[in-house]
């Protein structure tokens, strides 16, 4: 499938046909993004497939987080941040339209952050937070949600005896899985993960990665990572960004085995970044 490197394709994503993504959930088209006057993303177009793991890789500051945060409009919280061109469609709906209810969008597109950030509440309350926001009061429903979500986040066995202990009393890896449990408790369609393992030790990282494999069966996952092996291990497709531009987007094994772009190759082989 990958064509040999052609001189004309150097430095651009058009060198190869963008991968045909079946049943795309998210479609990003010609996206430009600005923080105030500085442009952080240049003309990004890519599609994210259902129930796959899509990884964003690239050197620091290349705009991975920015793009990720566009997907559930977390950038709305930042003054001066705006999309200046293009559109993001999730299941065909432009999420930046005026009549989009951001809260509803975020219920469908959950997010796990780089630094684990459980609320200073009990484990139980952390998990049911999103449900309580939606006005769920039924105790049995909440209890069920806690168990399924914690099981889903592979944390249940470790915490089932102390659900009412503070979420902050958990270890770093457990906290991150608690954040994942909290996110899946409201049953989103898409889960965005921004370097979820960068603050974790290798064992905790392995657990989260294993979790990602399971989550893939039910959710569409977009993960930003610094860790090349992680992208290789977890993801189905990988997008490589550099200086706010999408350089290459292809099935993961192609990106790592036969990158079509020399910059991609240089990055995945560890020569810069």
């Amino acid at each position: 499938m990958p064509s040999p490197l052609l001189p004309s394709s150097l430095g651009s994503a058009e060198g190869r046909n963008p991968p045909v993504v079946r049943r795309p959930v998210i479609e990003i088209a010609d996206l430009d993004f600005h923080y105030g006057t500085s442009q952080a993303l240049h003309d990004i177009s890519l599609s994210i497939a259902e129930k796959e793991v899509t990884a964003f890789i690239g050197p620091s500051g290349c705009g991975k987080s920015t793009l990720l945060r566009c997907l559930n409009r977390m950038n709305d919280l930042i003054d001066g941040a705006r999309i200046s061109r293009g559109a993001i469609r999730i299941r065909g709906v432009d999420i930046h339209q005026r009549d989009v209810e951001v809260m509803e969008l975020r219920k469908r597109v959950g997010m796990v952050f780089q630094k684990s950030n459980p609320f200073p509440k009990s484990i139980y309350e952390n998990v049911v937070y999103g449900l309580r926001l939606q006005g769920v009061r039924d105790k049995t429903r909440l209890d069920e949600a806690v168990e399924t979500s914690l099981r889903g986040a592979a944390l249940w066995d470790e915490v089932k005896d102390r659900l009412h202990a503070s979420g902050l009393s958990l270890s770093g890896g457990q906290q991150q899985r608690l954040c994942i449990a909290r996110t899946i408790a409201i049953e989103p369609e898409v889960i965005l993960m921004d370097e979820p393992c960068s603050a974790l030790d290798p064992i905790a990282t392995a657990k989260v990665e294993e979790l990602i494999h399971q989550l893939k069966l039910r959710y569409t996952i977009v993960i930003v990572t610094h860790n090349m092996q992680q992208a290789a291990r977890c993801s189905d497709r990988t997008a490589f960004f550099y200086l706010g531009k999408l350089i290459e987007f292809a099935p993961t094994k192609d990106i790592f085995m036969t990158p079509s772009n020399p910059q991609t190759e240089a990055y995945v082989s560890g020569r810069f970044g």
């Binding site: 959950g110 509440k121 926001l133 939606q134 909290r182």
Partner: protein, 530 residues
């Protein structure tokens, strides 16, 4: 340090300039340590001074209460209170008359003369009621004079004793010898008072009989509402029912009984009167001042907590940067006002304003409205609230600022609205910080002096809490206010002077407790945010 006379093989020592054997580093350290020590020392000295000046009060008050008993004032007071209770009943009758009068001339459309005519029988009754107390009143005033005289005599002799002691100390023995001091013999002096007992009992018997008659005649008095007169009858019967108890107390009264230090202490803490420079007897009861301080502070907090915390939440969580830049300095600027200026504003503007709106018709339902006094607990409380706002605002804003941004992001990412995020995550996380902000605001308010002195109305009396919410519209006096007001006019070392110091100690402990609690809450919050 190392000996530098011979060249070392491993040259790492250096000759340093020394002052008094200290290097410059050590000098700087000493300077800072000195500064810290001075602060600690000054604090210790102030505390020590406060206690040294204050604690002697209790001994003096014990003496004060002892003389009160020895000189028979205590004895006479029992009768005096009996007389005062009668006066209160008299006031009840006056009130009945006023209401009826207003009714007759107002709705009834009668002329004043005609109305007076209608009330002729009632007036007769009132006069008879008033006359009944005359014998007791005579006796009380007679005995009061005697008791006062004994007390005066005692104190004059005490003064002389002091004078002689001072002269002796100054080595002027002959002058000292000329100062004549006698021992006041209370037993003999009290004889006339105690001898009056039979006369008192006789008077009491007549009084009881007369009042009983009046009580049963009460409901038959024409021209006034029967229910009110019925009530009056009951009150009179109750009043008369208390006579035997008074007689009993007088019978067992003994001037030799000692007043304990504990009694002196409880008379201060639970005393309901703060009465100084009186002709009869001085009382130093902190309760009315304490209640006044507390009430004013409560009003202030009721106002300042929603304002301060609300503003902090708004500025920290909702306001745009421009608004933040505008609001924050404005609120903090309130703190820059000298409180005397605020007090002035309170007298000139706020008091007047509150009184005029309290007169508005649509506020008629509020008990105590329209306000009788321009300066009262409410006026002072409102201004104190204003003073507490910057403290509460600044500290609460700090607490909110300390909530990690990641909590907010996590909440939003789970689909929360801004309001939900504030209520469910931000405020609970910052809660201990907010509580301690409120406590420190309370500390600020309790210690505030100028505003309460100017605006609280300065009536030394426990507000009448039976009036319900209207109690908050009565003038009060406060602990800080009384110190500021009276400290200038007392003689150093005197009981009154020391009493003010004890009030200071009470304030000191109150502030200490509040600050300590606030610190404790803050510390717990820093250690384990939950």
């Amino acid at each position: 340090m190392a000996d530098t006379s011979k060249a070392p093989s491993f040259p790492i020592t250096k000759r340093r300039l020394r002052f008094f054997g200290l290097t410059s580093d050590e000098l700087v350290q000493l300077f800072f340590r000195g500064n810290a020590m001075v602060s600690v020392l000054v604090l210790a000295l102030i505390t020590l001074f406060l206690f040294r000046e204050g604690l002697e009060f209790f001994g003096q008050n014990q003496q004060n209460l002892q003389v009160y008993r020895r000189a028979g004032l205590d004895y006479v007071d029992h009768m005096r209170w009996q007389e005062q209770d009668h006066t209160a009943l008299n006031r009840y009758l006056l009130d009945v008359r006023m209401k009826v009068m207003a009714d007759l001339t107002g709705r009834g459309g009668l002329s004043v003369e005609a109305a007076n005519q209608r009330l002729e029988a009632f007036d007769q009754y009132s006069i008879r009621f008033d006359d009944a107390i005359a014998p007791l009143r005579g006796l009380v005033s007679e005995l009061s004079e005697t008791a006062s005289a004994i007390k005066t005599k005692y104190y004059i002799n005490e003064d002389k004793r002091t004078e002689r002691r001072q002269l002796l100390a100054a080595g002027r023995a002959d002058e000292a010898a000329r100062v004549e001091v006698i021992q006041v013999d209370f037993a003999r002096e009290l004889e006339p008072i105690l001898a009056s007992r039979d006369a008192y009992l006789a008077i009491n018997r007549d009084l009881a009989r007369e009042l009983q008659e009046l009580a049963s005649a009460a409901r038959a008095v024409p021209g006034v509402p029967v229910e009110r007169m019925d009530r009056f009858g009951t009150l009179v019967v109750q009043y008369v029912g208390g006579f035997p108890q008074i007689e009993q107390r007088l019978a067992t009264w003994d001037y030799r009984e000692d007043v304990s230090l504990l009694r002196s202490f409880s008379a201060f803490i639970f005393g309901r009167q703060w009465l100084t420079a009186s002709f009869w007897q001085d009382w130093y009861g902190v309760l009315p001042l304490f209640v006044g301080s507390l009430m004013v502070s409560m009003i202030a907090l009721t106002l300042a907590v929603p304002l301060g915390v609300g503003a902090a939440i708004y500025v920290n969580q909702i306001a745009s940067p421009t608004e933040q830049r505008l609001i924050k300095p404005c609120i903090e600027f309130i703190a820059a006002f000298p409180s005397v200026v605020l007090g002035f504003f309170g007298i000139a503007v706020l008091g007047e304003f509150l009184r005029s709106i309290s007169g508005a018709a649509w506020l008629d339902w509020v008990p105590g409205f329209p306000l009788a006094e321009r300066l009262n607990a409410l006026t002072a409380g409102c201004l104190l609230g204003l003073i507490a706002v910057p403290t509460i605002f600044t500290l609460a804003e700090d607490a909110l600022q300390n909530v990690p941004r990641s909590f907010k992001e996590a909440s939003f990412a789970l689909g929360a609205t801004r309001l939900q995020t504030i209520v469910r995550v931000i405020i609970p996380t910052a809660l201990s910080g907010i509580i301690s902000a409120v406590l420190l605001g309370l500390g600020r308010v309790i210690g505030e002096t100028m505003v309460v002195l100017l605006c609280a109305g300065n009536r030394i009396e426990i507000p009448d809490f039976t009036a319900g919410i209207a109690a908050f519209f009565q003038p009060v006096h406060t602990m800080t206010g009384i110190i500021a007001q009276e400290m200038g006019e007392v003689v150093r070392g005197e009981i009154h002077y020391r009493a003010l110091f004890v009030v200071g100690i009470v304030l000191f402990f109150l502030s200490l407790t509040i600050n300590f609690t606030a610190q404790k809450i803050l510390r717990r919050y820093r250690q384990q945010p939950l």
